[in-house]
Amino acid sequence: MSHPMVVLQEIVKRFGHNTVVQNLSLDIHRGEFLTFLGPSGCGKTTTLRMIAGFEQPTSGRILLDGESVQDRPAYERNVNTVFQSYALFPHLTAYENVAFGLRVKRVPAAEIDRRVKQALRLVQLEDFAKRKPEQLSGGQKQRIAIARALVNNPKVLLLDEPLGALDQKLRKQMQVELKHLQKQLGITFIFVTHDQEEALTMSDRIAVMHHGVLEQVGTPDEIYNRPATAFVAEFIGETNLLRGKAIERTADALLVECEGFRLTAPLQADIREQEPVVVAVRPERISLSLSPADTPERICLPARLSERIYTGAFTRTVVTLADGKTLVSHEKTDELLPVGQGDSLYVQWNPAHAVVLKP
């Protein structure tokens, strides 16, 4: 197998006394769409800037296509960036913006013209070649910024929250377009966002960061359904967290006791007996019923209906357990359980859909 496109080895980045990236190691594969996801200030943009060459890691190594790029400045790295603010050159036309990278590399004029036109066609803005950035809309500027980066045939395209400034509808459209572009061109994309939905829809793999630490790397499905930490479970989608204690550990499973129920979960290597744990269950995994579950494997707890919030296709239903703890369930709006506020009901879920984590 060929080596990964980007290798981050034990990267540490400090600004003064402030550590923004802590010991980050990650391999990014050829042709992969990898997203760094996390709240603002988690170190995701700094990581991207270190790959681009705008920042130097305090320690650690960065390999690009097998070569160490430590000592290479940004202008000698074969990666290109799409900036959050677009960063188009205001004094140049769209065409000249796209041609910039080829001109500084002294590519022959005829080839520049051919490649710029091809790049403009790729982002469907051939008719806007003569416009100045100020005469372009936000979405068009974004596309020019993408064309300006892609025309150089970079080994890796870095995207720093490129859709942040666009409105919701345009954002969704650009997400699809970017994904198509990436598949069509086969270029490695490294994308940075704080929007978990964006990360889930676009990525092959997601790297979740929090306080400079890489919390989990995995496919969208793994990140969503098998979060490795309580932070990941809470940050991605909505989740219910129930406090409990590990009471028994067998060779491959862990018995956990929470208020009112026990469940067995696949063993997490780093949880020992008697340690506190949290059990995470997604709202769409929790169903409501008038009578207790008839299958003993399902976890079933009595509760009262507290609140229902209509959100469209599903309704967010908040129920209160006997100990006062609230849980959220997503009910299909056309199949609501016929109960009113304060009425008794049962919540139940399949323990296989719960994840046991360290608190």
């Binding site: 400045p73 202008y75 290109n80 960036t81 960063a87 188009l88 050159f89 500084v104 980066a149």
Partner: protein, 259 residues
């Protein structure tokens, strides 16, 4: 609509201020076209004083000195000031705040102090007074103004476009020439024109550092005035005023056009 008493008072007050500002200049321009040699009575229209000026070899010599000094000092101070402003904008280092403040200080230092100190400095180094000292002094007092104007232009500058240029393979030098400079060009040109007018107009500092053989135009006027304000001086002053005004208008237009 009738103005209230306070309103009328305000209008009179404003009129007086503008009168005070511009009436002397208007009279100076008017008398430069006066036939009489005296600045007291109007005896008829003439352009003789202007024609006379262009036959006065001393005045032409001074004009020549002024233009050479202004051109060289403008070029040098614009380059130095622009690089200083870009450097201050781009880099962060220890003592930056102090150095930054010290760049602006010459703007408020009394000119006479600057003039005397430069004279003493040149005397210490045994540099003969002449073109060299004039140009060096003019560069010195113009640089802070260039820095102020270029820095104002840089305040609205998006730093990420420099990163974008380097990201696309441009070396720091290419980035400066192809991106930074074109974007801040209106500020640079405006600052150059400002430096030019400062150099053309300067009297006090030039008085100390100009050699006996190289008076600038303002110094020439100054020495001519010792024998009374003649219409010839009025004409010369009017010409200087027009040139300066023209440059200021051009500078402002360039500055406002692209910002």
């Amino acid at each position: 609509m009738r103005l209230s008493f306070a309103g009328r008072l305000g209008a009179v007050y404003a009129a007086l201020i503008y009168l005070f500002l511009y009436l002397p200049i208007a009279i100076l321009i008017l008398y430069s076209f006066n036939k009489s040699k005296l600045n007291a009575v109007w005896t008829g229209f003439t352009v003789d004083w202007y024609l006379k000026l262009f036959h006065n070899s001393d005045v032409l010599e001074a004009m020549n000195t002024t233009l050479i000094v202004a051109a060289v000092s403008t070029l040098a101070s614009t380059m130095i000031g622009t690089l200083a402003a870009v450097g201050m904008y781009r880099y962060h280092f220890r003592g930056k705040t102090a150095l930054d403040a010290m760049l602006y200080l010459p703007i408020v230092i009394p000119e006479i102090v600057m003039g005397i100190s430069m004279l003493a400095f040149f005397a210490q180094l045994k540099i003969p007074l002449g073109y060299l000292t004039l140009i060096a002094a003019h560069i010195t007092f113009s640089v802070p103004f260039v820095v102020v104007v270029v820095k104002a232009r840089l305040a609205g500058f998006d730093k990420s476009i420099e990163e974008a240029a380097m990201d696309l393979g441009a070396t720091p030098w290419q980035t400066f020439v192809k991106v930074t400079l074109p974007v801040i060009a209106p500020g640079v040109i405006a600052s150059a024109l400002l430096a030019f007018t400062l150099s053309v107009d300067d009297v006090i500092i030039s008085f100390f550092v100009a050699g006996p053989t190289s008076p600038t135009l303002p110094l020439k006027i100054f020495s001519m005035v010792k024998f009374g304000v003649s219409p010839e001086i009025n004409a010369l002053s009017t010409l200087m005023l027009m040139v300066t005004l023209l440059i200021v208008v051009i500078a402002e237009r360039i500055r406002l056009r692209k910002s």
